[in-house]
């Protein structure tokens, strides 16, 4: 390496330390200066990446909040709920920046052989903001809040297999399952399972807003703003900001303006169409992170013409995913491969060949199926996804090259999920992120699932699904998921064009870890405890 390059790298490192350039830029310039990517990464970690430091008031603008939101974890639904919960409450486990599962309230967990019994050891230090230590009783009450006949929790379905939750001392709980589930610790990261202080009667006190998270609520108004300050003695690393303000900024323009003018330090969503323009602003860092949320297009496999696998595959081949991603999502999406398993989820199977736009092959498959000149209706509504109808229209245009006529049917926004989804044979659906492939497959691809949206029946797939669920050996499990992915890709009835990325931004003076958790926007909704000010 020449001297000149060395000097240039030093300058880059300085700039990076002072927060003047982002990691991406650093990498870009370093590679341009002749370094290999690996070396550059190493350099970034050692020289450039600043050490987190404490202090400051972090203003955080969220794109989805409602005045009628509440502290009840059972009815959490908006980003405001979820992000606040990740800031002022704790979960048993949490998803780390690298996508692995890490400890939160639970220091460790282990299962019996068939994964029907899980034991969680709680952190001894953890305490609620009121000062009360977090005990097994609190955890049990919090989980039970989502169980039982009279619960109104939206997370009830996730815990149907749980037959019992018992405590083993003040800081240990044992969860018994009716069926083995190797993913239980992953499930515990679901945003509903926030731990609240228990009342004496075994219910929880969610009303007070007390929690054991990194920040405690000083004041707040739903749909408007919450002011929080650091919870001294939080049981985990982080929480660098002194205070955090969480603002609900539903209007995209207001949110963006607030960010551009420096009124907030980070926002949970930026408008895709302005992403390119914002990237030019040296004061901002834009993050474009793959997520596990997806757009799907289920076809009823038990109904003509989709009962023929060649037709299904022809439909899949007739889609130009790159164009859709470019035009509809402005590049803020990760190309999917017709199986509902995102790179942001664990056990992601690498090496399955990507299916691409191939109208000729699609045409020949249709010929084989004897379905040339196929005409189908595709239902869509913009409430599903901003640009859903445009996307359907674009797809119709692409499929014409394969000799497929797709009539786009615009459905009413209200009641789309009761009147169209699971009713119309071919429609557009938006899925939120699920923590593990198991949850996703069980919910929407298992043969007897209520939400089996494509009516897909594949014996091998269902068999593997059950096996994998209780398989504790990670490599074996990964193999199984890879096979399931191939089955879904080649036989399944669901076209999956893309996994939508999280696109969010922060001011350049906010330091972020190298790897950002992909479970939610803003580092898995944990920006408040993981990020810091660099100036």
């Amino acid at each position: 390496m020449s001297k000149k390059n060395q000097a240039q790298l030093d300058r880059l490192a300085d700039a990076a330390r002072q927060g003047r350039i982002s990691r991406r830029d650093f990498m870009h310039y370093s590679v341009a200066a002749g370094l290999t990517a690996t070396t550059a990464t190493g350099l970034w970690t050692t020289k450039a990446a600043a050490q987190p430091k404490s202090g400051g008031n972090f203003r955080w603008g969220l794109h989805d909040g409602n005045t009628s939101d509440t502290h009840d974890p059972g009815t959490y639904v908006t980003r405001q709920n979820i992000f606040l919960a990740h800031t002022h409450r704790s979960y048993l486990t949490m998803i780390m920046g690298d996508g692995s599962l890490g400890p939160d309230l639970a220091d460790s967990w282990e299962a019996n052989d068939d994964a029907t019994e899980w034991t969680f050891d709680l952190n001894q230090e953890a305490a609620f903001h009121s000062g009360k230590p977090v005990t097994a009783d609190d955890v049990i009450a919090s989980l039970n809040h989502h169980r039982g006949d009279d619960t109104t929790s939206a997370a009830k379905a996730l815990l149907t297999d749980v037959s019992d939750i018992a405590k083993d001392g003040d800081h240990t709980i044992v969860v018994t399952l009716s069926r083995g589930n190797a993913d239980l610790p992953w499930l515990m990261t679901d945003y509903h399972f926030a731990i609240c202080p228990a009342n004496d009667d075994g219910t929880i006190d969610w009303q007070s807003g007390d929690g054991s998270g990194p920040y405690k609520i000083d004041s707040g108004e739903w749909g408007v703003q919450f002011t929080l300050s650091r919870h001294d003695g939080w049981h985990r690393e982080g929480a660098y900001f002194d205070t955090v303000e969480i603002l609900t900024l539903n209007d995209p323009n207001a949110r963006q303006t607030a960010l551009v003018t420096g009124d907030v330090h980070a926002v949970s969503l930026i408008e895709l169409k302005t992403m390119g323009l914002l990237q030019r602003d040296p004061n901002l860092d834009i993050h474009n992170v793959p997520s596990a949320a997806a757009i799907t297009m289920p076809m009823f496999c038990d109904q003509a013409p989709f009962d023929n696998v060649d037709v299904r595959n022809a439909m899949k081949l007739a889609m130009n995913r790159d164009e859709i991603i470019e035009k509809i999502t402005f590049g803020a999406a990760t190309k999917a491969n017709d199986f509902h398993h995102s790179p942001a989820q664990p056990y992601y199977p690498e090496g399955i060949p990507q299916r691409d736009y191939d109208p000729d092959q699609a045409r020949s498959l249709l010929q084989k199926a004897g379905a040339e000149g196929l005409t189908v209706n595709l239902s869509a509504a913009d409430s599903v996804y901003a640009g859903a109808v445009d996307m359907a229209v674009l797809y119709a245009e692409q499929a014409r090259a394969a000799g497929i006529n797709i009539n786009v049917v615009r459905e009413p926004n209200d009641g789309y999920y009761s009147d169209v989804w699971l009713t119309k044979p071919f429609c557009l659906v938006s899925w939120g992120a699920r923590p593990t492939p198991d949850v996703m497959y069980t919910l929407a691809y298992k043969d007897d699932a209520a939400w089996n949206e494509s009516h897909w029946q594949n014996e091998r797939f269902n068999e593997l699904l059950l096996q994998a669920k209780s398989e504790l050996d990670e490599s074996l499990r990964a193999e199984m998921y890879a096979e399931m992915a191939t089955l879904a890709r080649d036989d399944g009835g669901t076209i999956i064009p893309f996994f939508n990325n999280f696109v969010y931004a922060n001011r350049a003076n906010v330091g972020t870890p190298e790897e950002l958790a992909a479970s939610w926007e803003n580092d898995g909704a944990r920006a408040a405890s993981r990020w810091w000010f660099t100036d």
Binding site: T67, S68, T75, V77, A154, L247, T248, D414
Partner: protein, 318 residues
């Protein structure tokens, strides 16, 4: 004076009837909203059982009439019930929001009303001059521009480009009054632009309308200078229409600012109402609508009383 009292009482009575009709209208409108509140609360994770349980808990299984009468019984006693979704008292949910709205409305009104009237008098005095024409075109333009457009333009120039004022008006507890004024300056300015034009034009029109009156000619023939003719002889007789348009605009400042609240993320009652409609939270919708309706009725009443008080014919009966 007793006549005015009688009139006020009569109008208040009519106002109450109007409120009652409004409440019935709103109740059944909310009732007719498609979609299910329990479903809305639970979102994507809803199952049939949880929805049923939640409906039961919210008391949605009673017939509509029973629920309305329940609510009415409470409302008459000053209890507007609890939010179906948050379970908190409606009064608590609304009070702060309404105070915020009132604050913004007052802020805008304190600037706009005197400004509009003085400007209106000035252009009436200088009618048919270049100044009048320019004012006419400017006010027409500001009336004709969508509020969100005005808001965005202000944000662009006074916030993004110059950084003089914050682009969003989030309020937090413990703000000083000065900070409060600075934070809410842009929405207030937008509202000022929207309502000033209307009031100014009405002031001008009301004054010019009177200029053909014999007593104005008399004042001129007494040798009074033009400003005195306008200010002393025309203005006192023009108060009734001016007060009316001021009242109308004040009502608008309170009830019609949803768009401005959205653009500036101001936590006013309009946003609350829009949210509540989206969530079908009937008690909140009902209470907000009644507040709006009552504001409208009271301001109209105030305008009528004001018109009477400024009219010597009615103030000093024969």
């Amino acid at each position: 004076m007793s006549d005015i009292f009688k009139l006020v009482m009569k109008r208040l009575g009519l106002g109450l009837v109007t409120l009652l009709v409004v409440s019935i209208l709103i109740f059944f409108a909310v009732e007719l909203l498609p979609g299910d509140i329990a479903q809305a609360v639970l979102g994507q994770g809803a199952t049939e059982e949880t929805v049923a349980t939640l409906r039961e808990r919210m008391g949605l299984n009673d017939p509509a009439i029973v629920r309305y009468l329940d609510w009415l019984g409470g409302a008459v006693r000053g209890d507007f019930g609890v939010s179906l979704i948050s379970g908190g008292s409606v009064g608590d949910a609304i009070t702060q929001r309404f105070l915020n709205t009132l604050f913004l409305a007052t802020y805008a009104a304190v600037i706009a009303v005197p400004f509009a009237i003085v400007l209106g008098v000035l252009v009436a005095l200088m009618r048919d001059t270049l100044f009048d024409r320019a004012a006419n075109i400017l006010t027409l333009t500001s009336i004709s521009s969508p509020e969100f457009f005005l808001g965005y333009v202000l944000i662009l120039y006074l916030s993004v480009k110059t950084g003089w004022f914050p682009a969003i008006s989030s309020l937090s507890a413990g703000m000083s009054f000065g900070e409060l004024l600075e934070r809410t300056f842009l929405p207030a300015l937008t509202l000022v632009l929207v309502v000033t034009a209307h009031m100014m034009r009405m002031t001008r029109a009301a004054i010019i309308n009177l200029l053909a009156s014999p007593y104005i000619e008399m004042a001129r023939l007494k040798g009074m200078p033009p400003w005195k003719v306008i200010v002393k002889h025309a203005l006192p007789n023009a108060w009734a229409p001016i007060i009316n348009v001021v009242a109308l605009n004040l009502a608008y400042l309170i009830t019609g600012v949803v768009l401005v609240e959205v653009v500036f993320v101001y936590p006013g009652i309009g946003q609350l109402l829009v949210d509540a409609v989206a969530k079908r939270d009937f008690p909140i919708v009902q209470a907000c609508c009644l507040i709006f309706a009552a504001t409208f009725i009271l301001l109209n009443l105030a305008a009528d009383v004001g018109s009477i008080l400024t009219n010597p014919r009615l103030r000093h009966p024969k």
